[in-house]
Symmetry: C2
Subunit: 221 residues, 2 copies
């Protein structure tokens, strides 16, 4: 039995924001006070606010859209606070959303921005956090329709496929991929054509969440 009164902790909620742009995965950071290190968005937990609510608060303060997917990863191990006067505990979430749509805090000098995941110069611990989040995302993206949070409402199947290839880090067969999509009636082809990435133009598709909820066809990609 450990003696002593229990330790009291500051609790912070930390969010790893993932976006997708220019055929790359992006991460939302700001510069740390000192050298070329990054910080992830975080907030202190207050009173009996929920963790989820606190995490959504972070997202709300940074993103213009409130169309994002947010999920707790886990509680991390306690650390001493910077001033060595106590301990803190951090609970990490990941967020999937569109890359643009940042609220520019013109008054705040050290504001957040998107960096591409590959060339991110992260600390060892940050790398681990991101890798853990990516593992979860990889597992889930094949069985739940969460990829659509990373894409605009209208997207081409090539975009969707590239996103899968990027996250899973394996090539995906175009024909099999499209075949599977055709079976899911909640991924709907529109009449609109996107000509920004090819001369011929590609159909734009939309994911219909209401139809997905009602559908008996399981999501699998």
């Amino acid at each position: 039995m450990p003696s002593s009164n229990s330790t009291l902790y500051q609790v912070s909620v930390c969010c790893l924001f993932f976006g997708y742009k220019d055929n790359e995965l992006k991460l939302l950071v700001r510069d740390a006070d000192k050298s070329g290190r990054y910080c992830f968005p975080e907030a202190k937990l207050h009173g009996d606010n929920s963790l989820y609510g606190t995490a959504c608060g972070i997202a709300g303060r940074l993103l213009k859209t409130n169309d994002y997917y947010i999920k707790q990863i886990r509680a991390g191990d306690p650390k001493e606070t910077e001033n060595h006067e106590g301990f803190q505990l951090s609970v990490t979430y990941y967020v999937l959303t569109l890359c643009d749509d940042l609220i520019t805090e013109d008054d705040e000098p050290d504001s957040y921005y998107w960096i591409s995941l590959n060339q991110a110069n992260l600390s060892g611990e940050q790398k681990m956090q991101v890798e853990t989040a990516l593992k979860r995302i990889r597992r889930k993206i094949g069985i739940r329709p969460i990829a659509f949070y990373l894409l605009p409402k209208l997207f081409t199947l090539s975009q969707l496929q590239h996103l899968y290839e990027l996250i899973l880090n394996i090539p995906v067969d175009k024909r099999n991929f499209r075949k599977r999509i055709c079976e899911m009636n909640y991924i709907q082809q529109t009449e609109l054509i996107d000509k920004s990435s090819s001369k011929r133009g590609a159909h734009l598709y939309a994911f219909n969440m209401e139809m997905f909820r009602r559908s008996r066809i399981v999501f699998k990609l």
Copy 2:
């Protein structure tokens, strides 16, 4: 921006111990101080002890064996402490282990005991915690060899099958189940026969962790 200094929290680690006996899933509880409610084992987090270490400490104080599987589920939402003087946060783990092998704390009156999961009279919140843990276990039991933590070192294939049926809550085809097991060379038939549950007797099998680690054959049941 919320003003005020950040709130300080007591942090406790809570473990849901799952066991398997008499063809039932069991849960480790003790009686709450008051009426017929149960408590789950928990411990306060101290200093910069790790969450995992603290959870293992709980297991070590309760179980004779240190052969168990332990995994964080998530951090729960903060609550006011009972004396209303502050807030606390709880991080939940689940533990898979053998049902017997409890350390009897003869001095402690309110010690822990196994109840069967079905007839457990849990509070709504506890039910949710247990259901969340079971979801994780269900997902994982088919792709990672964690079921063996719930069985003795030597077990019959019928025992293993019943355990799967119990956790997944669906019937399992005996022949297909055994076929899959035969393919996994790290689940080894021994020469020993268990005659406790049939007149003919059933072969006892053992899961070989070292062989599993080296094997290229993926676990899938």
